[in-house]
């Protein structure tokens, strides 16, 4: 095994150009588990730990927000970024434990592409764009296209996830996650809802091969909320029921498909109601 401890994005891209199959290691919260248990034995590693420019976020002039792929979740929980993207702050706070949040990143969530990645429903609901660079090219891909399936993405060998841009999201946004306890939990089901008037965006995590949007539930919400109406309890339940019909959960060691279907209906309904209560 070889390792390159990159200090700049250019360092990392040069190392990737030489060994396009290198494992990109950021916080290590996923890959190191695989390595500790002998399930992953990369021939080449490019460590991104030392790249300061990946650990930054900034407000862009058009109101959107750039988040570097190496910014740890701990930096999303509070402060300026949390004020801009409260749903992301809520999602960040559900990640693992403080130790995990000090290490884990959105770049890792995107690169790993676990269906249960906690940050992914937020990026999907808010229509974020992923920025990819290689030594010779760069491209921007909507999160919706970037995530292809379970642990599968559009990232090509030799490419680095530099960061994401989240467009301005006026209105309310929130996040919810179901697991067996409050901390150290991999989501059984998760959801992010953003609402601007009657325009509702809903993304679900851990209930399909990749994070999914719920176009039918979003259309139903637009009809329910037309003319500035507030949703009744039955409206919210119906919204949740439709959302749960738009996912395809599996049964595994963490939960059953039936429970996941029920759980996403509940959290989707709750988020819609919560969007009216602040």
């Amino acid at each position: 095994m070889t390792i390159v401890n990159a200090r700049t994005i250019d360092d990392a891209l040069a190392a990737l150009a030489e060994r396009p199959d290198s494992l990109l290691l950021q916080g290590g919260t996923d890959s190191m588990v695989q390595m500790n248990f002998g399930r992953l034995d990369p021939r080449a590693v490019v460590s991104l730990r030392g790249i300061r420019e990946l650990r930054e976020w900034r407000a862009l002039p058009d109101g959107s927000t750039f988040i570097g792929s190496g910014l740890p979740y701990a930096s999303m929980e509070k402060g300026g970024l949390a004020a801009r993207l409260p749903a992301l702050a809520e999602a960040a706070r559900t990640v693992g434990s403080p130790q995990i949040r000090a290490a884990g990143t959105l770049g890792g969530n995107l690169g790993t592409a676990s269906p249960a990645g906690d940050g992914l429903p937020v990026l999907r609901a808010l229509d974020a764009t992923v920025h990819l660079r290689s030594a010779t090219s760069s491209r921007d891909v909507p999160v919706a296209e970037f995530l292809v399936g379970v642990k599968r993405t559009l990232r090509a060998p030799g490419e680095l996830i530099v960061g994401v841009t989240v467009p301005p999201a006026p209105g309310w946004q929130g996040y919810a996650k179901v697991g067996v306890r409050n901390a150290m939990v991999i989501a059984i089901a998760s959801a992010c809802l953003a609402r601007d008037g009657s325009a509702v965006r809903l993304a679900l995590g851990a209930v399909a091969p990749t994070v999914v949007r719920c176009p039918a539930a979003e259309r139903a919400a637009a009809a329910m909320l037309a003319g500035g109406r507030r949703p009744s309890r039955d409206d919210a339940r119906e919204f949740g029921r439709i959302a749960s019909s738009e996912c395809s959960p599996i049964s595994d060691h963490r939960s059953t498909a039936a429970y996941r279907t029920h759980a996403v209906a509940v959290v989707a309904a709750r988020l819609l109601e919560r969007s009216f209560h602040g």
């Binding site: 590693v45 130790q99 000090a102």
Partner: protein, 157 residues
């Protein structure tokens, strides 16, 4: 990079030679540097017993590729206190009965130091959240909360 790297641990430089580059920081601390205070259990970031400071942030050393920590400052429990001079948090754990088998203690002490350095007067929910990544199977956590409360009182005094 050759199969040789340098780690800065507790202010001292250590050369790591002829090691598989895939080793975790936890493994290298214990098995190559002889720093046995940091405990290893789950090796998947769930139990917190391997908590160290990496450039000041409390992290699970089992999830840090040791060779990627070159250039970082690693602080382990050995640097927090000694038998003769325990830290205030360590003393509070002893005095309040927060230590039973002791296996989780180094990780918890690191997590509590990280908490109190960032927030000198945390609420009980903040304390619970701060140690939510550290498993203790002996105490039921009651005495650990009392120890944290005692350390907070002492610092405030």
């Amino acid at each position: 990079m050759a199969e040789h790297y340098t780690l800065r641990v507790n202010g001292a430089s250590h050369d790591v030679r002829d090691a598989w580059l895939g080793e975790s920081l936890l493994y290298v601390l214990r098995e190559r540097l002889g720093l046995y205070g940091t405990k290893g259990a789950c090796e998947q970031g769930e139990c917190g017993s391997c908590t160290v400071f990496l450039d000041g942030a409390a992290v699970c050393s089992c999830l840090v590729l040791a060779a990627s920590a070159e250039g970082c400052d690693v602080t382990t429990i050995e640097h927090i206190g000694s038998d003769d001079e325990p830290s205030d948090v360590q003393r509070a754990f002893v005095e309040q009965g927060g230590v039973q088998c002791g296996f989780c203690t180094p990780g918890l002490v690191m997590a509590v130091h990280a908490l109190l350095d960032a927030n000198p007067s945390p609420t009980r929910p903040e304390i619970r959240e701060a140690i939510s990544g550290n498993l203790c199977r002996c105490t039921g956590y009651g005495r650990i909360f009392e120890a944290v409360d005692a350390a907070i009182r002492e610092r405030g005094a």
